[in-house]
Subunit: 362 residues, 2 copies
């Protein structure tokens, strides 16, 4: 999988790149909407298309339990199943194994969980997760990793990291489909030296891309900032860097400036369902009384379908009346807002790079 | 408002018509999706547009209580508020007054209800409802009427009918906007002679269209059939006939053959939300286990966006996973199915009429 850095920020670590996948190019930095269950909650590909997200996520763990990866494969794979023909990424479900499974037994070879759906035991190994992801058919696939909560002891963190590292290498040996790129995930909890060590060790193993996992799990923001900064800096500069599960608007920009290329987060649709909408002035509660007759859009600089066609008064009405369209319109806006945050970041980075190169050539 | 009958069935009472409204022509017979709260539940105009519904309904009573008709007027009216630029109809809410209001006091001049939302008293009269509907701005508006449950005594039915008749005439006197057509509603419960009497009395008052109200409220199907038949026959033949709240697929066809031109029903979206989908072989429960891996569409003759892009297996998965997209895709299909039922009925009526006229001219 080819990744070209087409411009770099002269003052920060930010870069604009293009990642080539089997389903088309991905312009980075990019925010990737999350479609855990093979659906970005409440949205159709026809809602997403005008937003132009570069990649859509799904979750191998969830889909393996229901409806089953083999069945999705028989239906033509994930792209066809959900009618999305752009680039996709499947997370392995390492995070879900550790947060959702009713019980789990972890050993060096993998994990046995009792399904959160039916309580039945199910075994996941680095190789079996790669098989599941091959059946699903996303363009970028993530290996099974060991996730920790916050705080965790250094000893726990060391053991989890060791397994995560060994599992990434096992996943790489199991990986067969040349149209899928297997990234590696850097763990290391909140231990700076372990993060750097993991980034260097995996970085030397030649994966086509790297993810920073296990952050935004409750640790203080300053610590997140520090860990992203030193981990991103320790990863190979010529490979895409994906920060998992982080997506507050200000974080996207701050971490893109540290060299992060890909982001995902469930917040835009989760907030949208509760009537919270992003604006350039912070989050807006669409159900609050002050918006009852407000003629303006959610954000008057936004070009999404919601802001083009609907007033805050209409959205307020939908949430007050408990109408499902409210969640959908707010989700469309929130996803578009985050996608656009990084698109405009990328555009201005490219514009500055052009200006710099014009100045130096004259 | 002009209504032209362009073809008649040689063997039944069915006719194909074109009703001219301020927001474009309505080809009848037509099924009108219901958007009570200024939203067809869960669907955007962009979902509806490919289905080409001829008219969308909204409800004056609901919208008067929340968000308020004056506010909708300040936002540019109902069409602009919900971003639908095709023909619209507002029901008066007579049915809701009698089914939803916590308490109501009825007199010859109108009704005082305690709002089902906040318990506050609110007065509705035939003239005030017309004012509300003028503020909302639909193309076709319905007068306040007195609805009864089933069964009701003859005395109750007579009194309700008398008020409904008097209120229709009061609504006509209050009616001002020339771009809105005020229909009259025929009540009369399950008393055949009262239905016919009401149809003739209102029919002679020169309304631009007529509705048959108060049916499908629990009475036996054979009685519904009989009452629709004799009421439709007693109404002026040159005016559109709208059967309120009736929408099982077989009823649409049966009653179109009796000369009914317009139908509405909440069932397609209500059933869709529970995972029930119309097919040519009856209703299908999308959550049932047999569909887990079914590669086919809901109905293989259907041309809706759901059937074009999604398998039963995907829909099954969405309902099993509790994903909101399931309700939306099933609603799109169900609305399309009913709209298409009458569109193809109309097309074959026109085709037969052409064949008849070709045969008689040769």
């Amino acid at each position: 999988m080819r990744f070209d850095i087409v411009a770099r920020c002269p003052t920060t670590g930010a870069r604009a790149g293009i990642l080539q996948t089997a389903h088309g190019p991905v312009k980075t930095p990019a925010f990737m909407p999350v479609g855990t269950q093979a659906t970005v909650k409440g949205l159709l590909p026809s809602d997403l298309a005008p937003i132009q997200p570069q990649v859509i996520l799904a979750n191998a763990y969830h889909l393996a339990l229901r409806p089953g990866a083999a069945m999705v494969a028989r239906r033509g794979g994930l792209h066809r199943f959900m009618a999305w023909d752009g680039p996709m990424l499947t997370d392995s479900g390492g995070f879900q194994v550790f947060s959702l499974a009713a019980r789990r037994q972890l050993d060096d070879q993998g994990v046995t969980i009792l399904s959160h759906l039916n309580g039945r035991p199910r075994r996941f190994t680095p190789a079996s997760v790669v098989r599941i992801e091959e059946q699903l058919g996303a363009d970028i696939i993530m290996p099974l990793d060991v996730c920790l909560g916050y705080p965790s002891s250094r000893a726990e963190t060391e053991q989890a990291l060791e397994r995560t590292h060994a599992w990434a290498l096992k996943a790489a040996r199991a990986h067969r489909r040349p149209d899928q790129a297997l990234f590696a995930i850097v763990q290391g909890g909140t231990e700076p030296d372990l993060r750097v060590q993991a980034a260097r060790a995996l970085g030397s193993a030649g994966f086509p891309g790297y993810a920073i996992g296990g952050l935004s799990v409750g640790e203080p923001r300053a610590l997140t900032d520090e860990l992203v900064s030193l981990t991103a800096a320790a990863l190979p500069d010529d490979r895409p860097c994906y920060l998992m599960g982080v997506g507050e608007p200000d974080q996207l920009v701050a971490y893109a400036q540290l060299g992060v290329d890909l982001f995902d987060c469930v917040l835009p649709t989760r907030l949208g369902r509760t009537g919270m909408a992003y604006t350039r002035d912070g989050k807006l509660n669409l159900a609050k009384a002050a918006l009852r007759a407000d003629p303006g859009p959610i954000d008057d600089t936004c070009r999404c379908a919601t802001c083009q066609h609907y007033s805050r008064a209409y959205l307020h009405h939908l949430f007050r009346a408990g109408e499902p369209l409210g969640a959908r319109l707010a989700s469309i806006h929130n996803v578009a807002f985050l996608v656009e945050t990084l698109r405009s970041f990328r555009d201005s980075l490219l514009a500055r790079a052009d200006a710099t190169s014009a100045a130096s050539s004259s």
